[in-house]
């Protein structure tokens, strides 16, 4: 039984990496426990609303940035409460920006968010695309067998 559990855990780590990597890259996936250690907050949340606008960052990039209001249903790490997330990409005046190592964010989507503080009290995804694990209707990370329960267990085991 113990061996089976270890196998499941290893597989979950691996699939989490592979699943997250669909939104990243090219690069190398950071295991869930390590992602959890680096994140200030980990929440299970649903995107309630999004707005997008052009912003100039510290590097001089002129990017469309989407601000997403998240309704938090569970705080796996850190405080609960609403979250304002900013992520590169989005649509302004008919022009859309996509970024290869970030997913898109749309209203109604549900995900596990690994968050770190950004500017002006808004959060950004920790490790960019690897910090947003979108969930399917069965509480699993899309395209993998990793469940929210397993993420919770892996994240809390490393607090």
């Amino acid at each position: 039984m113990r061996q089976y559990r270890q196998l499941v855990t290893a597989a979950a780590l691996v699939v989490a990496g592979a699943g997250a990597a669909l939104a990243a890259g090219p690069g190398q996936a950071v295991p869930i426990p390590e992602r959890a250690r680096g994140a200030e907050r980990i929440v299970v949340a649903t995107v309630a609303a999004t707005t997008a606008r052009y912003e100039r960052n510290d590097f001089g990039d002129e990017l469309i940035v989407t601000r997403a209001e998240l309704v938090v249903e569970e705080a796996i790490k850190g405080a609960g409460g609403p979250v304002a997330l900013e992520i590169e990409g989005g649509t302004v005046d008919g022009i859309t920006l996509r970024v290869s190592d970030l997913p898109t964010i749309e209203s109604g989507e549900r995900a596990v968010f690994f968050l770190t503080s950004g500017k002006s009290g808004r959060f950004k995804a920790h490790l960019r695309g690897q910090g947003i694990l979108k969930l399917d209707g069965e509480n699993r990370v899309q395209g993998s067998s990793l469940t929210v329960d397993e993420i919770r267990r892996l994240a809390r085991g490393n607090r």
Partner: protein, 474 residues
């Protein structure tokens, strides 16, 4: 300084993710370029490899998609850019950024409109977190730029990540892997789905040839290079006037069958490309090298700051010599100065030293030779007067001498005393030059010009009873 990522479970991750291989798993972003060609610019400044090597690797990565597939699409290099930020500015730019972020090696930004037409794409390599290598060997704990470029240009043409672990568009790269530079069947299916090749049933591809410049031709910098070529198509006829010429270094050079152009120094890959009305293309390439001509070697410059020209000192006085030497190619050569006296030979080296010179008139020359063997010198005159002999006592046989010029010719005026001989022999530089009455004075006509010094003594005629020596200098 790079912050290299831990490899951790990458091998296992890749092995299990490979279970999805072979499923035809390419992902289209749903966006594509409206034109079958997209230009791009490169800022090759980076922390890891030479700019020329980076440029070549990026171009190779971009060319992967048109060279290995039958897709009706190609990126073409337009030249360098100083751009280092992503923006929707109508210019597709590729650049490096000293940033480490989430394990990502590179990322692509792409903008598109509501008709799903790609409008702009920028590629950023993160050399703060990863070390980039070029070529296909020598990589250690890093990645090959060509492979990562191939992946990112895949994004730029409209492909998303594939779940096929053998694909160039797979989301994870292996350290030092060279697999991305070769498109997998999954990549080919994706790009050819996105940009299908025009039907070839009723259209044949055009042909293009390059007459000039010849392959591997070499020209001197500043030379005008003649370009000449021809192109034809079985349906469209002569297409020579539509040949588009580009250089891997200078970007687009011109359009047409022939023209001339001055190229920048370095090795250029010259591409002549033509497209027919059915959308089929053909291209040919030659390599051309523009060599730089080094400027002619400049002679070094020498100056003497001390002592001043014409300085006169008394015998036994130490003289400080100072000088400097510079060279356009070699820089400061002061330490290589060599000092010579016309009287004493080599007297010192370097920028400063002190030395006592022999009595007489010296021409002191400071000489330096640069790395190309070209010498220069500066020269001054220094006179060293003989010290006055102590006043002889009346009972001694004494001599004093004074240098005198008569119409520019050397003479020595002698005075002596202390001898009871009726006749006196005169010796100059050890050679008897005359005998005179012992009247206490004599003018010796040397009759030479220029510089020189002479040593006199007088003796009782026919004896070895002699005075002291006296030196005169001109």
């Amino acid at each position: 300084m790079h912050t290299h990522q831990s490899i951790r479970t990458a091998v296992i991750l890749l092995a299990l993710a490979g279970g999805a291989a072979g499923l035809g798993a390419y992902n289209l972003t749903g966006k594509k370029w409206a034109s079958p060609e997209a230009p791009y610019y490169v800022n090759p400044a980076n922390a890891d490899v030479s700019e020329s090597a980076a440029l070549a690797a990026i171009q190779a990565g971009a060319m992967t998609w048109s060279a290995q597939s039958n897709a009706n699409f190609a990126f073409y290099y337009m030249g360098r850019t100083s751009g280092s930020s992503a923006a929707y500015n109508g210019k597709n730019e590729v650049f490096f950024r000293n940033e480490a972020d989430g394990g990502t090696i590179a990322r692509t930004y792409w903008w598109y409109n509501s008709r799903n037409e790609l409008l702009d794409a920028d590629i950023m390599f993160l050399d703060g977190g990863w070390r980039f290598f070029t070529g296909s060997s020598g990589c250690s704990d890093g990645v090959y730029l060509e492979d990562i470029a191939a992946h990112e240009f895949g994004h730029a043409l409209g492909l998303s990540h594939s779940s096929d672990s053998s694909a160039t568009m797979y989301s994870k790269a292996t350290r030092c892997g060279t697999n991305f530079r070769t498109l997998a069947p999954d990549d080919l299916a994706g790009v050819e789905k996105l940009y299908p090749s025009p039907s070839s049933g009723s259209n044949s591809a055009p042909g293009v040839t390059i007459k000039l410049p010849g392959n591997n031709a070499s020209y001197s910098e500043g030379s005008s290079v003649a370009f000449s070529g021809s192109a034809s198509d079985s349906e469209d006829g002569n297409l020579s006037s539509t040949i588009v010429w580009t250089s891997s270094r200078d970007g687009k050079l011109g359009t047409g069958a022939s023209f001339s152009r001055v190229l920048t120094a370095g090795t250029h890959t010259i591409t002549a490309k033509v497209s027919d009305s059915g959308g089929l293309t053909a291209s040919r390439q030659v390599s051309v090298t523009i060599t730089t001509t080094p400027p002619p070697n400049q002679a070094p410059a020498v100056s003497i700051s001390a002592p001043s020209d014409g300085t006169t000192v008394t015998q036994g006085t130490g003289i400080t010599f100072r000088g400097s030497a510079t060279d356009a190619e070699d820089g400061d050569l002061t330490s290589k100065l060599v000092w010579n006296s016309s009287v004493d030979g080599t007297i010192g080296a370097g920028g400063s030293f002190s030395r006592v010179l022999s009595p007489g008139s010296h021409r002191v020359r400071a000489t330096v030779t640069d790395s190309n063997g070209v010498s220069s010198y500066s020269q001054i005159a220094v006179s060293v007067a003989a010290a006055e002999d102590p006043a002889p006592s009346p009972s001694q046989f004494w001599l004093s001498a004074t240098a005198v010029k008569v119409k520019g010719r050397h003479h020595g005026d002698l005075r002596w005393g202390g001898s009871s001989s009726t006749k006196i022999d005169i010796y100059r530089d050890g050679v008897k030059v005359g005998t005179t009455a012992n009247d206490g004075t004599h003018r010796d006509a040397i009759n030479l010009r220029g510089g020189g010094s002479y040593t006199y003594k007088v003796c009782a005629a026919g004896t070895t009873t002699c005075s002291n020596a006296a030196v005169i200098s001109f």
